[in-house]
Amino acid sequence: MKDKNWYRLDNAGKVYPAIITHRRTSLFRISATLAKPVHVGKLQKSLEIIMKRFPYFNVQIKRGFFWYYFETNEHTPTVERDSLYPCMAANVKKKRMYLFRVRAFNKRIAVEFSHVLTDGTGALIFLKTLLFQYFREIGIEANRESDPFIFDPGAKPNPGEYEDSFKKVFNKKIPFNRRQQRAFHLPENFDRVGRYNILTAIVPADTILAKSREYNVSLTDFLTALLIESYRQYCTDNLKPRRWKPIVVNVPVNLRPIFDSRTMKNFFLPIEPAIDPRLGEYTFEEIISKVHHYMRHEVDSKVLNQQITRNVKGEMYTFVRIMPLVLKNMVLPVIYNLLGENNYSGSLSNLGRITMPDELKEHIERFEFIPAPSTGLKTKAGFLSWGDKVYISFGRLTKDCPIERIFFRKMRKMGIPVKIENN
């Protein structure tokens, strides 16, 4: 594995290079705001040090005849300046370009990863290792052993981090499960190309957790239900009933704990809690219980494996494999829309509770997650919690933000204090 200087894309990453456009850049971002302004020189040094630990990120994307592949990049990634519009203006498919970037602005260190390379968990491990090394450079030592998701910058990569876990866990024998329904899509106009509008809400964790405990559900269930409820409200307020469609929210699930994998490539699957507003009026309590039970049913290694099998089988067909890349690039966007974005109305990613060693906690003000822009859904959401706050971020390609408005107003009506920031 060591002398190999090229890698295959993983099963989920294979579709992304074909669908990248100026709007849909496939970049998502995790950022950490520190207590003091960032020293860019030291950040650059830390980045160079930890790159040796992440050889699978030290790559550029190349066109093969049948598939794209990663090739070792002989350059050094540099810390870039931040932009008004995060996750935009990237040409990750160019030669010698990295598929991620590290950006610094005032007190904030942000990493933007392309979904071709890895998912949120991989990016979070990278950011945490970078922060650990950065604090070491500026003279703040911390005990790394307390957190398994901070890698030792001096160690050798584990071979398990290179693997495509989808291929490992998929089981040829299980039958397909086809559940496709065209979901409702927000009928809003796009903002200009290159603009990505971010709304970040800061919510006290104890209040919102107490609220979700009132309904006896987890925070993810609560927020997913609230997002579905916001879409439902939007439909009833703005559209005639004949234009209503099922409201499906895409909730990516990290598969690493479920299948005991330590891969640093993509390893997640979406599950899709939904309601159909045409069937009648749902109350918030009904939605929340539907979401809660749906999640319990879906987050099960056997049911998830069925979906993995569908995806991996699709990639393994001889007909698909021998199709030249030029043709694949024409077909894949259609497939992606048919099997992917057409079936979701919105998306809510959960990065969970961020942990750092105790010595560093006081030096980090907050973490934020910004989802990758999507032309089909137009607005996507993600949240994480750090300290005593929950940070909910919406990224949208539209000018107006009706869903966000309904979402946060509903939250305020429940008595949850919300602070909003935007770019």
């Binding site: 300046r81 932009s83 203006a89 010698r96 919300v418 920031e421 935007n422």
Partner: protein
């Protein structure tokens, strides 16, 4: 902290309108304004990094190879069309191959100058021999080209060796080059006289030697007198 009166959400101190519903928000006093959360301007599309030295060399090798293939194939085609056979085309081809070796070796094997020098020597001999072989020459290669090229190669190798060993590289390198020039003339005259008159004779090259030795001596003197290094790369920078 200010709030939006319609949404009820809290916003930053410096926000003029609600991020959710665009309702204007009054700014009271300009003190303790928060630092901007994002830069004021979008960042431009980043350019990919430039090719590094290794990639540049690889690219140069490809361009040179295909650049030389074009005249080569034109020459062969012209020869075939006009003469219905390959006649003078062989000269062009061997010359192009020679040029290719001469240009490409330092590009690809810049780290091993000894190997490059040896390869230069051998390829020059091979090129001249091929010219003789194609033209059916009368032994000028063995009597003239071989000794002259060998003497030149030995002198260049000695110069390289001295330049490598000397602690301060400066005018002394020019001095040794001047000495070698004189010795080269001796070698050329010996080879010429053997070829033309069948005897080994040294006559006019003595004059050259008598001029080069004092010149080289002067340069050496200047070098050890001043001991200031003259950086060749600085002087000959392009």
């Amino acid at each position: 902290m200010p709030y939006c009166s319609r949404c009820g959400v809290e916003v930053d101190n410096d926000v003029k309108k609600c991020p959710l519903c665009s309702t204007p928000i009054q700014i009271l006093g300009s003190d303790n304004l928060t630092l901007g959360r994002y830069p004021d301007k979008p960042a431009p599309q980043p350019a990919p990094p430039r090719r590094n030295k290794k990639e540049q060399r690889r690219m140069a090798a490809i361009i040179i190879t295909f650049g030389l293939l074009i005249p080569g194939s034109i020459a062969i085609a012209a020869d075939l069309v006009v003469n219905k056979d390959i006649t003078w085309g062989t000269y062009t081809i061997s010359a192009l191959i020679y040029i290719w070796v001469i240009i490409l070796l330092p590009v690809l094997y810049y780290k091993t100058p000894v190997f490059t020098l040896m390869a230069y020597y051998l390829s020059t001999l091979l090129f001249l021999y091929s010219i003789e072989a194609f033209s059916g020459g009368d032994k000028w290669f063995r009597q003239l080209a071989l000794p002259i090229i060998t003497v030149t190669a030995i002198l260049i190798a000695i110069n390289f060796f001295i330049a490598n060993r000397s602690a301060i590289k400066g005018i002394n390198i020019f001095a040794f080059a001047v000495f070698s020039l004189g010795l080269e003339c001796v070698g050329i005259e010996m080879a010429l006289s053997l070829f033309l008159e069948n005897t080994i004779r040294v006559w006019w090259s003595i004059m050259v030697l008598s001029a080069t030795f004092p010149t080289g001596g002067l340069l050496l003197y200047l070098h050890y007198k001043t001991k200031k290094p003259l950086k060749a790369e600085k002087f000959f920078h392009i």
